[in-house]
């Protein structure tokens, strides 16, 4: 059964395009000077402009425009020398003007791409457009009886909408694309990329078609994918849903569907017939955005090294494998941490191993970002030096490392406080070895009879007796000499 189900799925090509909304990290809103700070008391970050009082006018936030241009350049877009804001008209209580200021016919950035790696293959995902718009407020339905309330603090927070071409061919690829977008906007410092808090939001257009078909299948639009872990899951569900409808002889209805993360399903929200006519037209209150060469050049010059370039450099300069480079460059802060540790004397691959292993495990367990971890890169280099010069063993180092992360103390201090200095005195180790061997005549006999795996038993016993402090190299040499 499983095999035949897989075979059916494999007949279909998946076509996905994503519309991603990224909240820009400007201090003030896009068309007024209210703060964009998150989590204040309702309606305390509002003014006559963002509450849509009669007679007010929007004035575009230059920083927001620069952030969008920065993103456009990082995603290989052409930047329009002349673009316009447009009004998207619809009624909703969280939309105080009765229209959202967005961009329509003439967006700020167009025709770009980002590259992602899926299954060891580099895939280029086209970016149709990137445009600016304002966020809406929030309706609050919990409260007093049959009344609803509106919080307009978020109204006018700048958003950047990044629309991809329908180039994505699997849910996994969609997740990879989202991760890449997140990495880029975080590198650029234009968005914090937090899906759970809604500063990065993703709507997906999904359709399937039999392989070889030219025309697209009927698509559905998926909304409310509010976490990274749901991107792949929601799309997988929707793809399977569509395929099973087609396999059963049905047809896909063009509609908007909501992802229900609790139930793990997508549900119909509204059909095409109910779709709004937004009556877009150029906003006459706002002058066209004219981007001159000087502004473009200065933004381009100030672009940081981006994830792809950094990954290539890490492989070239540090000789890191692809996987290490990819992981270490997923976040700028992690990449910076790595480079600082290497600058402080750590060997690149060793630093990478410790970061990808123990450090990321601890970050995960404690739900901390690299900035929140007490351990500093130079301290890691210091610890590696202690292993290098034989002061501690790699095994002891694991304990030391955990302690460093927890307390922020230097490795040398922890080693001293806990008496973890490695025993490199041959006499002391030999004494311990002799004691163990004296207690284990049976094991010695079996070892000599050819059961060489028993070496681990002897090492373990001595380590236990020395509380793990015996220099492993010396211990091995001594054991081999005495057991021969």
């Amino acid at each position: 059964m499983k095999n035949s189900a897989d075979a059916i799925l494999k007949k279909y090509e998946v076509v996905i395009g994503l519309e991603v909304h990224a909240q820009l990290l400007t201090d003030t809103k896009i068309f007024c000077r209210c703060s964009t700070k998150f989590g204040s008391e309702p309606n305390t970050q509002t003014c006559q402009v963002c509450t849509g009082m009669p007679g007010v006018l929007p004035v575009a936030n230059k920083k927001a425009i620069e952030y969008a241009i920065r993103t456009g350049l990082a995603m290989n877009c052409s930047i329009a020398p002349y673009s316009r804001f447009a009004r998207k008209n619809y009624f909703y209580p969280d939309l105080p003007k009765g229209y959202q200021i967005s961009q329509y016919e003439l967006p700020l950035c167009e025709h770009g791409f980002v590259e992602i790696i899926t299954d060891n293959e580099v895939r280029r995902i086209g970016i149709t457009r990137i445009h600016l718009e304002e966020d809406a407020g929030k309706n609050i339905h919990e409260g007093r009886g049959d009344h609803s309330f509106v919080d307009l603090n978020r109204t006018g927070v700048p958003l950047m909408e990044i629309v991809s071409e329908p180039d994505i061919r699997s849910p996994k690829e969609a997740a990879g694309y989202m991760k890449k977008l997140r990495a880029i906007v975080r590198y650029l410092g234009v968005c914090d990329g937090n899906m759970e808090e809604g500063s990065l939001r993703c709507d997906a257009n999904v359709s399937v078609r039999l392989f070889g078909r030219k025309e697209f299948g009927t698509r559905t639009e998926l909304k409310n994918i509010n976490s990274f872990k749901f991107v792949e899951k929601a799309l997988e569900y929707e793809v399977k849903r569509q395929i099973s409808i087609i396999e059963d002889g049905g047809t896909i209805i063009q509609e908007t569907r909501l992802w229900d993360s609790a139930a793990g399903v997508t549900q119909s929200m509204r059909s095409k017939e109910e779709a709004h006519d937004y009556r877009y037209f150029p906003d006459p209150d706002l002058a066209p955005i004219v981007v001159g060469k000087d502004l473009m050049d200065s933004i381009r010059a100030a672009l940081p090294e981006l994830p792809d370039e950094k990954r290539k450099r890490f492989m070239d300069r540090y000789g890191l494998p692809d996987l290490d480079a990819e992981l270490l460059t997923s976040e700028k802060a992690i990449a910076d941490w790595f480079e600082e540790a290497v600058r402080a004397g750590g060997q690149a691959k060793t630093v990478s191993n410790w970061m990808m292993g123990d450090l990321m495990r601890i970050m995960n367990e404690e739900n901390k970002s690299i900035e929140d971890i007490s351990l500093k890169p130079a301290q890691m280099a210091g610890m590696l030096a202690l292993i290098e010069n034989g002061t501690i063993s790699g095994k002891i180092a694991k304990t030391v490392f955990e302690e460093m992360c927890r307390t922020g103390k230097d490795a040398a201090v922890i080693v001293k406080e806990k008496g973890l200095v490695q025993i490199s005195d041959t006499g002391e180790i030999e004494k311990a070895v002799d004691e163990i061997l004296a207690k284990s005549p049976g094991e010695i006999a079996r070892f000599r009879a050819g059961d060489e795996k028993l070496i681990g038993f002897f090492v373990g016993q001595v380590m236990k007796a020395t509380k793990g402090k015996a220099n492993p190299k010396l211990l091995n040499e001594l054991l081999m000499k005495k057991l021969k």
Binding site: Q48, T51, G52, M53, P54, G55, V56, L57, P58, V59, A60, R87, N89, F91, P93, P96, K97, G98, Y99, V150, D277, R279, Y280, F281, P284, D285, L286, A287
Partner: protein
């Protein structure tokens, strides 16, 4: 002469010489209001308390030598300019209780000079109309004939000036709303170049056409008022970042060699005989002063009305979306959200406003946008080009302001198309964005004022003020006062 009959500049001299006090001037204004307002009904709100408080402040400023042009001058403000703490209804039931929490840029500039606000002047609802008959409050009457309309939409402002209920007034002009009532009430009305005066705080009707301007008793006051209200405003992206000249310095009687254009498309059948005669006399008068009259063509004039009613209504349909009962103004209780929206807007808007919202929504809707809105934008460019072309050959263009003198209350109220033709000579000016002034140029056989429109190049208000001043100085029309 009673002080209320004086001009801004005339009263200024008396106040500066301490021959009168601010309070004395204001007393005369309110005495006049007390005697004629029940017949004229120029105001929606009379701000007597606020006025006397301002008068005290103004007197203090004058006494300490801090007087400016408008210090202590009683001015009426059209009810679509936001005045902090003072009811601003826009002539609409939907804003019947709206007290702005902020001050418009233009009234802020007046306030900074300690002007005295006499009251908020009546207007057609949301400035949509040519007679003030569309006001939700009441119809204002023409001081020259109480049975006639004062014109509109700034009919209250024009009537207040003509009746001596204030020294000067502010109005707004989207398709002729300053100039047409000025013509019908026998006063001077100036629509500045689009972008010359900030729109911040002016309740929007059609954002790409709206412009605030003065209604005054003579041309000198018009220049004086423009000096105060003009200038770039960082809160209005459509206000032009260009220097403001001293408009009063441009007033001189020498117009020898001035080339005045007479557009052949404007002298058409259907113009009232008295209007035609008065305007032709005015052209001869200008010629006798040394100006050269040259026939010009504005070939796309016949499309102006259609173009205007597509663009203005499209913008209005979006601008008026914010009046939804959620945040301020009228709210009807409905059984659900949609009901609340529909009941509020059904009860809050008058028939003309509803008509225009429907027209505009239609013109912007998907499938019709290209045929209406987009086409109208293209024609707008052609109309603007007409003016650019004509202004290569002439310095100013002279036309009638309105095809007829004031008509009787109710005469055109039932026929919107007939009413729209009242603005046939004024709307092209708004579409082109150029400045124009209407000045008194005679009287009809029924003793109703006739207005002469003088149109100038973009940001060349000085040329039209100069022409108007030269004409005014050689005639006495502007000195006649309505006998109430």
């Amino acid at each position: 002469m009673k002080l209320n009959e004086m001009t801004v500049v005339g009263l200024r001299k008396l106040l500066d010489k301490r021959e009168i006090s601010v309070k004395e001037a204001l007393d005369d204004v309110y005495a006049r209001i007390d005697s004629v307002e029940d017949r004229v009904r120029a105001f929606i709100t009379i701000t007597r308390d606020e006025a006397y408080k301002s008068a005290d402040r103004a007197q203090e400023a004058l006494d300490s030598g801090m007087g400016s042009l408008l210090t202590g001058i009683p001015v009426a403000v059209k009810d679509n300019m936001c005045t902090k703490g003072i009811l601003t209804t826009c002539g609409s039931k939907i804003l019947h209780n709206f007290v702005p929490p902020y001050e418009s840029t233009v009234t802020s500039k007046l306030k900074a000079q300690d002007y005295v606000i006499v009251g908020k002047a009546n207007m057609d609802e949301f400035a949509m109309g040519s007679s003030t008959e569309n006001s939700s409050s009441h119809t204002t009457r023409n001081p020259w004939d109480i049975d006639c309309v004062p014109g509109g939409s700034s009919g209250g402002s024009a009537a207040a000036v003509a009746a001596g209920e204030c020294i000067a007034a502010l109005g707004s002009d989207t398709g002729g709303s300053i100039r047409q009532p000025a013509a019908l009430c026998g006063i001077v009305g100036l629509k500045p170049t689009y972008g010359r005066v900030s729109r911040y705080g002016l309740v929007a009707f059609a954002s790409s056409l709206d412009q605030i301007g003065p209604l005054t008793k003579d041309v000198t006051d018009s220049a004086a008022m423009l000096n105060v209200i003009a200038g770039h405003d960082p809160l209005d992206s459509t206000s032009a970042p260009i220097a403001t000249p001293d408009f009063m310095a441009s007033l001189g009687t020498e117009i020898k060699g001035l080339r005045i254009g007479i557009p052949k498309e404007y002298f058409i059948e259907g113009i009232d005989g008295d209007v035609s005669r008065a305007v032709n006399d005015a052209i001869r008068k200008l010629e006798s002063l040394g100006a050269e009259a040259i026939e010009v063509s504005l070939p796309h004039t016949e499309y102006a009305t259609a173009t205007y009613y597509i663009l203005a209504t499209s913008e209005a349909s979006s601008n008026l979306a914010r009046y939804d009962g959620v945040k301020y103004g009228l709210r009807e209780t409905g059984k659900d959200l949609l009901d609340m929206y529909m009941d509020t807007r059904a009860k809050g808007f008058g028939p003309e406003v509803k008509r225009r919202i429907m027209l505009g929504s239609y013109a912007l809707s998907s499938g019709y946008y290209d045929a209406y809105y987009k086409k109208a934008q293209q024609v707008r460019t052609l109309i603007k080009n007409d003016f650019d072309e004509a202004f290569k050959a002439v310095d100013v263009i002279v036309t009638p302001t309105s095809p007829t003198p004031a008509f009787r209350v109710g005469e055109k109220a039932a026929d919107p198309l007939q009413m729209y033709l009242s603005d046939i000579f004024t709307i092209s000016v708004n579409l082109a964005g150029v400045p124009a002034i209407s000045i008194p140029c005679g009287f009809s056989s029924g003793n109703l004022p006739v207005g002469l429109q003088i149109i100038g190049r973009h940001f060349e208000e000085e040329a039209i003020l100069k022409t108007a001043y030269a004409y005014e100085q050689s005639t006495e029309w502007h000195l006649r006062r309505a006998a109430l």
